[in-house]
């Protein structure tokens, strides 16, 4: 375990940090943490606040998990990780409540819900438990800032279209009526859908292909945090995505359980 001198095949600290920004962007590419992504992005300040709070929790909990990675037994690691994460979330809640009461009001129950944000537990499980504290911090910062960028992007679109303002300053000329639907729940789904389509378009467009080499490498819980297969593709349009296998697996489990039930009855 030589954390300070990574072998040539291992990514450098900068690469660890960098991959969260675009390549494996949690919200736009891995589709993780969609609940806060959709719920709090009605105004840029809320999106930014949520993103930074999540970044803080990510960095702190990844470092803590990384430091404790040899002390925590494998069998109880998930509850242990959740406890660590929940402690840092509680810390953030207290800080926000004390210094930014307006943000606390705006984020409401979504602030404690950082605990169940799949990004945080996912990174603890997949990265921090296997890497040294320095790399874990870089990974947490990269993922957190990537998440913040995505939230700010989505909330900027929604705030400008839905309220005609940006950071509370009016940007649309007065003769354009803002589309209230954009700050309503329906607008959240629509804006995220269009932004993901746009990122796919940028990537697939022939003119961009040389710059954005198609990489589907994100080793993530992907599309559905509910999917235990973890094939890491997270794209139902991709033939390699194990989503159908997941559904089949669920069905097989149902059939097996039914059989067991019948046998028990006999």
């Amino acid at each position: 375990m030589s954390q300070n001198t990574p072998s040539p095949s291992e990514p450098t600290l900068a690469q660890v940090f960098d991959k969260g920004l675009l390549e494996e962007n949690p919200a736009l590419r891995q589709m993780l943490g969609l609940c806060p992504t959709l719920a709090v992005t009605t105004a840029v300040t809320n999106g930014l606040g949520m993103g930074l709070a999540t970044t803080f929790v990510l960095v702190c909990s990844e470092v803590a998990v990384s430091l404790l990675r040899h002390a925590i037994p494998k069998t109880v690691r998930t509850p242990a990780f959740i406890t660590i994460i929940a402690s840092f979330v509680t810390l953030v809640m207290m800080l926000v409540k004390a210094y930014l009461p307006a943000l606390d009001e705006a984020l409401g129950i979504y602030l404690p819900l950082i605990v169940v944000n799949c990004i945080v537990l996912g990174r603890a499980e997949m990265f921090a438990s296997k890497n040294g504290p320095l790399r874990a911090a870089a990974d947490g910062a990269g993922m957190g800032i990537g998440f913040t960028i995505a939230l700010v992007l989505i909330s900027a679109v929604r705030e400008v279209l839905g309220a005609g303002t940006l950071l509370g300053v009016r940007v649309l000329p007065p003769f354009i009526e803002p589309m209230i639907i954009m700050v309503m729940p329906a607008g959240g789904f629509a804006v995220l859908g269009v932004l993901i389509a746009a990122s796919v378009w940028i990537e697939e467009h022939p003119r961009h292909k040389t710059r954005y080499v198609k990489k589907r490498v994100a080793p993530s819980a992907s599309l559905c945090a509910a999917c235990p297969i973890n094939c890491g593709i997270g794209d139902p349009t991709d033939d390699m995505c194990a989503k159908d296998e997941f559904v089949e697996m669920l069905e097989a489990a149902v059939t097996a359980a039914k059989k067991e039930a019948e046998e028990r009855e006999q």
Binding site: M31, P36, I82, T90, M94, L113, L121, M184, C224, A261
Partner: protein, 196 residues
């Protein structure tokens, strides 16, 4: 009685957990592809929500009494995770038929934000014990309703032929937007019906 009905229906229709409050989006998008799994998942979430509130509400009273409110998040998440584990073991051992239809979904919702969300929400709203349980039931049924409706929508979407870049996730999100839009029609209905 009217206040319980008002809470129940406003949780199902007006404050629908998935389509209005954006809680439980991961299973909503992940497991809604097939009707049967959508129903199983929805029913499992409903069951866990009611049970979770039944346990976390008294715990909150204890925490308040001892001045330990700041432990709420940690206490709730651990209690819910344990509860789900115990429930799965119980169903597997004693009610295998129910385990077949619900149990397999339980491990997936241990850290579901909808469950922790409803437990936190009823505390914030200051509901009584019975009101909280009704709110949990409503939130779960609303989740079930959204899952069932959306699994129907998705079957159509799967057969549709959207532009290349919209295939998969984007078109699913756009159809979710339209489904959410239809739920906007319910706002105000409950106030009107129950005069709350």
């Amino acid at each position: 009685m009217a206040q319980y009905a008002s809470i129940l229906f406003s949780m199902i229709l007006v404050n629908n957990f998935v389509l209005v409050k954006f809680l439980g989006i991961c299973p909503f998008l992940g497991v809604s592809k097939k009707f049967d799994s959508a129903v199983g998942m929805g029913a499992a979430v409903t069951l866990v929500m009611v049970l979770a509130i039944a346990v976390t509400w008294p715990i909150q009273q204890l925490l308040t009494a001892w001045g330990l409110e700041y432990l709420q998040t940690i206490a709730f998440i651990l209690v819910i995770a344990t509860l789900v584990q115990l429930l799965e073991m119980f169903l597997k051992r004693y009610v295998p038929t129910l385990h077949a239809s619900l149990g397999v979904f339980l491990p997936l919702i241990t850290t579901n934000c909808a469950v922790l969300g409803v437990a936190t929400l009823v505390v914030d709203e200051g509901y009584t014990y019975l009101e909280s349980l009704v709110a949990g039931l409503g939130a779960g049924l609303g989740f079930l309703l959204a899952m069932v409706i959306f699994s129907g929508v998705r079957r159509r979407v799967e057969e549709a032929n959207p532009p290349e870049v919209f295939r998969g996730m984007p078109i699913t999100l756009i159809s979710a937007a339209i489904t959410a839009m239809s739920f906007m029609g319910f706002s105000g209905v409950i106030d009107h019906l129950f005069g709350a």
